[in-house]
């Protein structure tokens, strides 16, 4: 059904379509509408789920954890300070291998206080063991939330997933969204059948303590699960595409990178605006392209090497800063390209913090700057 929705609503619709069984979440701008919409769905009888009205985000994820080990499909959503406050639980959920899906509506972190978007909140959580997918549109938010359950619950992945969407720019921006039908979603996403759940017939300890003899192997298995997730993310996106006609490029999506001298690397909603710029510059005869990282974790190092290996300059647009180093994506892109015989120049651009707008002109400037480094131009 063709509808007109913002990404917050799109995510709430996905939660309904995914037949989530337990939701626990805490309000925070600009995520709140997701939670409100879910509460509304339940009140209106559209969604048959338990909504746990927790008193904080730490508890939100803890409650999801409890419900998940009981065998339920769970959902939560947060943003910024809320994500930061549940941080202990992030490591815990991934280490415990519970397939939580969480929408992170990206917003900058205090201090100073901001309610506007940047990626500092989720990017800073890159080491927590969660899969992170960044979406570009409300449609992708909906579709990715559905895909996220398939990925998270995959028997060899069993790793929680963050669906990251830019605050306001996506969360509060309505646009055309195609709503899948319930039957279609049901056929794409079967009910969650956990291998391990709390069962007095088979008593088990969930998340026991472990000595140095065992602990490392569990951490290794988390890393292997992430490796597996690479495949699964791609396969699920393919399958989704076959069913619904919409694909998002799996881990990383190139746009007009063929023969591009300068390629811009982006995450999230700014990609849309950048496409516009790429088209215009291409029209003007500039060999520019775009690589959107859909997954930050698992990090698409292989794809980056393949797609960017041929470029002369790579410009990385970071909506975050790893203070004392540089934008996090920039570092990781360089590392991914490390060791290639022909190495593109990699330039980092930190933009759009705390809701700073990124206009077409800003992006064009980045491209111009990048092109000026291209040997052809020098």
């Amino acid at each position: 059904m063709r509808d007109y929705r913002n990404a917050n609503e799109a995510v709430a619709l996905a939660v309904r379509l995914a037949r989530v069984e337990v939701v626990a979440a805490y309000p925070i701008t600009p995520q709140t509408a997701i939670v409100e919409e879910i509460a509304g769905q339940i009140a209106r009888g559209e969604l048959d789920a338990e909504y746990i009205r927790v008193e904080s985000e730490h508890s939100a994820l803890a409650a999801c954890y409890g419900a998940a080990v009981a065998g339920a499909r769970v959902f939560t959503a947060t943003s910024s300070q809320g994500l930061a406050y549940m941080y202990e639980m992030l490591h815990y959920a991934s280490g415990s291998r519970v397939p939580v899906v969480m929408a992170v509506v990206n917003r900058g972190l205090a201090a100073p206080w901001t309610i506007w978007t940047d990626h500092q909140d989720s990017v800073s959580c890159r080491d927590t063991g969660w899969i992170q997918l960044y979406v570009e549109t409300a449609q992708e938010a909906l579709d990715t939330a559905l895909q996220a359950y398939r990925i998270a619950e995959h028997g060899e992945v069993l790793t929680p997933v963050m669906v990251c969407l830019d605050g306001f720019v996506l969360s509060h921006t309505e646009e055309v969204v195609e709503i899948p039908r319930q039957e279609e979603v049901d056929s794409f996403l079967p009910p969650y059948r956990p291998a391990y759940y709390v069962d007095p017939e088979r008593p088990a300890v969930f998340a026991p303590g472990m000595g140095p003899d065992l602990y490392p192997s569990y951490k290794r298995s988390q890393q292997l699960a992430m490796e597996k997730a690479r495949e699964v993310i791609k396969a699920v996106d393919e399958e989704f595409g076959a069913l619904f006609g919409r694909r998002y490029g799996g881990l990383a999506e190139p746009y007009r990178c063929e023969g591009a001298k300068a390629v811009l690397v982006t995450l999230g909603s700014v990609t849309s605006t950048a496409r516009e710029v790429v088209d215009r510059l291409r029209q003007q005869g500039h060999a520019v392209g775009l690589l959107r990282l859909r997954a930050l974790r698992p990090f698409p190092a292989q794809e980056i090497r393949e797609i960017l290996g041929g470029a002369e300059v790579v410009a990385v647009l970071d909506r975050n800063c790893s203070f004392g180093l540089e934008g996090a994506v920039c570092t990781e892109v360089k590392a991914a390209l490390y060791g290639l015989a022909r190495q593109p120049q990699v330039l980092g651009f930190i933009r759009g913090l705390g809701g700073q707008d990124i206009s077409q002109a800003d992006i064009e400037e980045i491209f111009q700057h990048a092109l000026s480094f291209s040997p052809g131009r020098r």
Binding site: R2, D3, Y4, N6, T29, I115, W116, F168, V169, L170, H172, T173, E174, E175, V176, S269, V270, S272, T273, R275, E276, G355, D357, I358, S359, Q360, D362
Partner: protein
């Protein structure tokens, strides 16, 4: 692509208006739209903005709107802020809801419309709730979306009883707008 900026006060429903217009175009005319608020918390009474982009192809530019094609002002007192006309592009439209003609707006090269939508809304809705009617006027004046599309969107977004009343107001405003069409003052 068309870019519209809406000015109102917290509680007046500017965000809903921006959305309404977008929905009318996107769902009822198979076109594309983006609508978004001014990205802040809006306190009741505080001046707020909202935005709509309309287009025939999917809209990819997600940056802010700096040079709108049209500015819609919900309330004459907002003119005091002095920023309603900012960036309005040459040849654009400035639509003001006011019970009287304000003097000396520093508008240049744009078309100016004034309508007393509050009176209309009071009449139809019994309250000075102008947002649906403002969309109606704009649609009437510009023809950017059809009255039918506006109607469809209103019935989607409001519960039935409210929708009917609001469409009544919007339709009236739409017709008024059609009358006004081409009657804007060039400034």
């Amino acid at each position: 692509m068309l870019q519209i900026r809406w000015h109102g006060r917290g509680g007046q429903g500017v965000v809903a208006a921006a959305r309404l217009l977008g929905r009318a175009a996107a769902v009822y005319e198979g076109r594309y739209a983006l609508s978004f608020p001014s990205f802040g918390t809006e306190r009741r009474g505080a001046p707020v903005k909202a935005f709509t982009r309309l287009g025939d192809r999917p809209i990819r530019d997600r940056s802010q709107i700096y040079t709108p094609d049209c500015v819609v002002v919900f309330d004459v007192t907002l003119l005091e802020g002095g920023d309603t006309w900012q960036g309005l592009r040459h040849g654009g439209i400035f639509l003001l809801n006011a019970p009287f003609e304000p003097h000396s707006l520093p508008l240049q090269g744009v078309t100016f419309y004034r309508v007393d939508v509050t009176a209309l809304a009071r009449e139809v809705l019994g309250q000075p709730l102008v947002n649906t009617a403002m969309v109606g006027v704009l649609a009437g004046i510009t023809g950017w979306v059809s009255g039918e599309a506006v109607k469809g969107a209103i019935f989607d977004l409001f519960p039935a009883r409210l929708a009917e009343k609001n469409w009544l107001a919007a339709e009236k405003a739409y017709l008024l707008g059609q009358e006004l069409r081409e009657k804007g003052r060039r400034a």
